[in-house]
Amino acid sequence: MSIGLSPELASREEDEGLFSRDLDGQLVRMDKVTAEDLKRDVTIKIDGRSVTVKKAVPATDSQGGYLKDENNKIIPRATTIYDAACALFATGTLRLTKEMIEQGITENPIPILCHQSHMDPVAVCRMCVVEISKVKRGKMQAERKLLPACQHRVEETMEIATMATSEKVRKTVGTITELLMADHPSPCVKQTQTGDCELEALARQFNVPAPRFSRREPKPKDDSSLVIAVDHDACILCDRCVRACNDIRDNQVIGRAGKGFTSKIAFDLDDPMGNSSCVACGECMISCPTGALTNKAVVASKPWEGLSPPAERIHAEELIRHPIPEIRRSFRGATPAFLRWNEGSIVRRRFRKGEIMCREGEFGSTAFLIETGNVDIYLNSAMEHATSSGKGGILGLFKKFTVDHVLRKDTRGDASNEGRHITIDAPVTLDFARPTARLGPGDIFGEMTCMNSYPRSATVRASEDTVVLEFMRNVLYIMQRNKTFRASLEKKYRERAIANHLRSVPIFAPIRENPAQFEQFVNTLRDTVRLTRADPGDVIFNQGDRADDGFYLVRTGFVKVSQRRPGGDHVLNYVGPGGYFGEVALMGDVPEIQAIAPAGLRTATCSALDHVDLVQITVADFRDLLAQFPQIREPMVREAVRRLQEDLKSRERTEGVPLGEFLSQGLMNANSLLVLDLNKCTRCDECTKACSDTHGGVTRLIREGLRFDKFLVASSCRSCLDPYCLVGCPTGAIGRKGSVEILIDPNTCIGCGRCAENCPYGNINMHPFETNERVPDPERPGRSMAVYKQKATACDLCHHVGGDPSCVYACPHDAAHRMTGRELIDLVERRNS
């Protein structure tokens, strides 16, 4: 009991702890941290070493993207003791190098088990408990209990003793580990499969001897899922799968059931996993620290068949222990369990010198990481232009390279081609005159095609014999979860791509005329720009917001610029790679702009159309640039005025077309709509019959759907530019196979229904198919019957029969047509004018 306190306060302390009251003895409300706290310093000591951290840090999603509130402001979260320890020490999984040890860096002495940096802390395993003291009433006083570092906020004057310095912590954490190990089926399935059971690793690290406590009754296994094995006996109720399922993926399947020592994780109403609403996304499995949720590895995915050069299988182990440090680091974000689960999603391919690895304009869904060798990355069309003295023209290039060149051409302005650069899907940008760049070992390319399923933005050719790792979106998604990986991509961008990227922005053309000045310009921005990322639908800023966030350049993806107008939102523009936005509101001091736009306020809403990478230049930097480089000020103003006037014009243009409706129905995203002209269609249903005949009696279109003007957009796959359906397929059965249509491989489809759920337009249907498996027929003893399994089906544009889609071909009235969203809007526009 504390000395020198009145008995009343002393007894009060029992309950409330050191940090509950302020200096006046008032209870401190645990308020949410504020934006100011992002700037406020807090200094604490951990094992005697001082560390200064911000009181709050931006809350992030699982991919490191900042979370924003409804007003589009960064949401701060309180900095925890564990965060501070991570800032002070190397992270637990990092192997220390000699230099790091010389610099005094040691391993983080706070172990974690239930906590993961991309999840909200729950502080249930108590592995991270520490001793906390704090100055109170002028004296350093210790908390009575140990408290969890993963969840406890940092406070000024705090002193922390971890297991490195406190015998009490060491003993307590040792006992907790021993308790968990007593019931743990060691080695568990995870340890056997991939050798990375986190609990067993901690037990080894703490030298926990064979547990003295006897083991509980083993808990049952649940083998009902086709892809994930559940072993309740290895479950330590860390809540990681629960948060993975509900918070990270929002699948809302896993919860904790029961109470006390009988509690367990449960699916839906404690159904077997295979009978529950689980979509087998695998997030729980990769989140599980032990062998409670493991990969059954029964699904043989064959998306790599028939490739040349052939795809070689690569084992997870090989990636984890890859001899090239950069590659090893790239896979750090992916746990061995994840890599094993996704072994089919990563392959090695060996290209001979001169072989093309991917071609500009092709649809693809993979990214590449170079192991050995070098590649040249270039644009075919641009090469033509370079070799044929400017012929072919810029439109030819962008036709293949962008998705809606018509709408976005004005982002290019009228700058000449000379000295222009082209942003591509790799950590370099290409010089327009010599559109070739070289990448080497450890470099990654094809990221944007992989994430967004866009056509390849450039062609890549092996400039010598080259070995690459090629992988699918699910792997890249998890790789991006790792801070180190993200940081290394950023570093590469800053080192290699920023100069060319800035050079490619037409508005900066006047600076690049003076190489010395341009270098200074690049150096000013190199370290101060922020690289941010937005997911589809994320608002970057809203119309009417104060413009305090800055000016944006687009690296990859597309940003939609829209304005609120009577009758709904109107899209003004799409800004793609190489474009910029956000400058108008930062130039409120310019008289010409003042006259037509509100000073300091955003004149339009900018939001991400797909996965977008942005370069954000702060307001201060932007203003400095204008002051420092007066030659860009004038064209910048001119361009801004032009854009504002364009807005007014577009207002008139779009008034004839219900553009809002068009957008809200997602038609902009469509590559291939089945459009029925209702003036011609007699509802004879020949299209449906034709589809059914072509696809073994199961129709893939329904002659119903959204009405748009005088047209019916039938329920049939639209081959979207950004197909949501591809996200989360656990086996990679659905994808683009080098073409525009979305194909579902019936051999690898496990019938999880995830794609059907993801399709916003209801165009993927689940149908039972007969399988080779047979079971005894309950109604006819002695006979067997076929097992039917659900598989996903979608329009494949009659891929397998070649030629026109049957629906269009079969229409006797010329009412059925396939067209892009853009073509449909043009059609409507023409009709109305």
Binding site: D15, F19, L27, R29, R126, L179, A266
Partner: protein
């Protein structure tokens, strides 16, 4: 809404059918796993159809001491003979009827002080009728016979003779009326401060401090919650207060509401306390009719509704942050602290959660003055309080005693002395939470300050210790509201294993030290009882219990885990001969075993 909906479904179907839960999920737009999380966490909810006859035997502390395990064995044997699978016999966590041990529950009905033979005939009757609801259950020892669930004809005036009731049973609400008549915030806080009223739920937080904290906490909306989840074995005082003086509890809530500016009050009562729930609901109805709560409460122009919240059960709901979690439709799992409920409580709003008795004392203290309450105490203690006492005493029950009364007087005078003149072997001073203390406590177990004060004595005589929270804390001991007394022939290992089983069963399972630690402690105790250890094994047992006690105390989230190892820990420390009995396989009464017992003067 989930909790209320589950209550409603169970009322209709007798359990929670899967189809109904699926419909509920659609109706509330809440995922299935969220519903299952709640439905599977509380003992009140059944996920399977109930049997025709449900017969439950209280298995904790006093009931265990009086042979509950034997009841279960005997009844199970009988059920398998006669039941035809239509009867379910099982233990149940403390029913709050420790003064009527062994207590059993058939369907919704309590029966107290039943012998095995009586229980067998109860079971026979129930089986004959295939339902337990037809025969009237026992009434509480001190409860009027008019109380049966669902129907009550409670008179508006019934004197208890307790000092807590300044109105001698009349529902006057004079204290609240007086508060409204003038601006009496300072006076009320001052009275609570002078009276040194402490929270009666266990933590003993000074009431004036807590009330003023909630008053000063920032926030437009605030709440008052009465913690009537009384589920600690050996504790049943709130049962009596809720039943006999619901108007005092309500007036305390009204005073707290007026003081803090709260917008609503809740009386959270465990679901087994059906007569208490009825009494409280009726008292609220009457109070609303009198205009002291509800719309325009006491003419203040503000509404202050008070409602009963029926707990879906579980000891852990008594942990106040778990109680709030349950009210927010989540699993009853304690929160990590800070923050405290006073600032971040129900729906993250400032919330005053206090024990039933704390609220019930407030009107008298305000009405009669802080000095009046303070002077009720003796031997340096301040005030008075209600204690429940059970076990091997002649008159188990609830007693209103001055704070500072020596423990020996509570046992010897109020509780009528030891049952059948036995000698005293051990006292549990806070249900199972403080473990079991011998009457002669070795000085080396006390904090240094206390050791120095008592250095002339060989032992601390527990019977001399005043029943005063501060006096106990100064000695490094815990005092709760329920005391259980054990006679010389008690097997303390058996009691400790039983108490540990209680903690294991009632642990919410959220944090590792408590969830796994309690289970391991039970196994250690059972292994000892089953002769798994020989004499050389006792030292490792002591080590294991010691390590678990320290890890659980240091690292558990809430109080349950922190005290979960105390029963075995104290028995290992003080009743070693009872442990070695299992090694020798012969149990010796305390006198032969060299364990100090005392005679309690009557």
């Amino acid at each position: 809404m989930i909790q209320q909906e589950l209550h409603a479904i169970q009322k209709v179907h007798g359990y929670l059918p899967v189809d109904e839960l699926k419909k509920l999920s659609t109706r509330l737009n809440v995922p299935l796993h969220r519903i299952h999380e709640v439905a599977s966490c509380f003992p009140h909810y059944r996920l399977t159809p109930p049997p025709a006859v449900e017969f439950k035997v209280c298995r904790d502390m006093a009931c265990h001491l009086k042979g509950a395990p034997e009841y279960v064995r005997s009844l199970k044997a009988m059920a398998s003979e006669l039941g035809g699978g239509q009867v379910e016999i099982g233990g149940v966590s403390c029913l709050g009827q420790c003064d009527g041990a062994v207590a059993v529950m058939v369907g919704h009905r309590f029966y107290r002080n039943k012998s095995i033979a009586e229980c067998r005939s109860l079971l026979r009757d129930a089986l004959a009728n295939r339902t337990a609801a037809t025969s009237p259950g026992d009434t509480h020892a001190q409860a009027p016979a008019t109380h049966s669930p669902g129907r009550s004809t409670r008179p508006t005036s019934r004197a208890t003779g307790w000092r807590i009731d300044p109105y001698e049973g009349r529902e006057e609400y004079s204290a609240a009326r007086r508060f409204v008549a003038g601006d009496n915030v300072a006076a009320l806080l001052e009275a609570l401060k002078i009276g040194e009223l402490r929270g009666m739920g266990g933590a003993g937080v000074p009431a004036h401090q807590k009330w003023s904290d909630v008053r000063q906490a920032r926030g437009e909306r605030k709440f008052i919650v009465v913690n009537g989840d009384e589920s600690e074995p050996g504790t049943f005082k709130d049962r009596e207060l809720l039943l006999k003086t619901p108007h005092l509890v309500l007036e305390g809530v009204i005073l707290a509401g007026l003081l803090t500016g709260a917008e609503r009050g809740y009386v959270y009562i465990r679901h087994e306390y059906e007569p208490q729930i009825v009494a409280m609901k009726e008292a609220i109805d009457r109070a609303e009719r009198m205009g002291v709560c509800g719309e325009n409460a006491l003419g203040t122009g503000r509404d202050f509704p008070i409602e009963v919240y029926v707990s879906p059960g579980g000891y852990i709901c008594g942990e106040q942050s778990a109680l709030i979690e349950a009210m927010e439709d989540r699993r009853a799992e304690p929160r990590n602290k800070p923050p405290l409920l006073e600032t971040n409580g129900l729906y993250d709003k400032p919330t005053l959660v206090s024990n039933v008795e704390t609220f019930a004392w407030a009107p008298a203290i305000y009405y009669k003055g802080g000095e009046w309450y303070r002077d009720l105490g003796v031997n340096g203690g301040k005030g008075a309080r209600f204690l429940s006492i059970s076990g091997d005493v002649a008159k188990p029950g609830v007693y209103e005693v001055p704070i500072g009364l020596p423990l020996g007087e509570l046992i010897g005078k109020h509780a009528g002395g030891m049952l059948n003149g036995r000698r005293l072997k051990a006292v549990a001073t806070s249900g199972p939470s403080a473990g079991f203390l011998p009457p002669m406590l070795p000085l080396e177990d006390l904090p240094r300050a206390a050791r120095e004060r008592l250095k002339d004595q060989p032992y601390l005589n527990l019977l001399d210790v005043p029943l005063d929270l501060q006096a106990f804390r100064d000695l490094g001991l815990m005092l709760g509201a329920g005391l259980v007394v054990y006679g010389e022939d008690t097997d303390m290992v058996d009691q400790a294993v039983n108490a540990t089983e209680f903690f294991r069963n009632e642990s919410c399972g959220k944090c590792v030290p408590c969830r796994v630690g309690c289970q391991k402690l039970v196994v250690i105790g059972q292994d000892l009882q089953n002769g798994r250890y020989d004499a050389t094994g006792l030292a490792p047992v002591e080590d294991m219990v010691g390590d678990l006690r320290s890890a659980m105390e240091q690292a558990s989230i809430c109080g349950l885990g922190m005290v979960g190892a105390n029963p075995l820990g104290t028995v290992v420390r003080h009743f070693r001969d009872d442990m070695t009995a299992y090694v020798r396989s012969t149990f010796r009464p305390a006198t032969q075993a060299g364990i100090r017992t005392v005679e309690v003067p009557r």
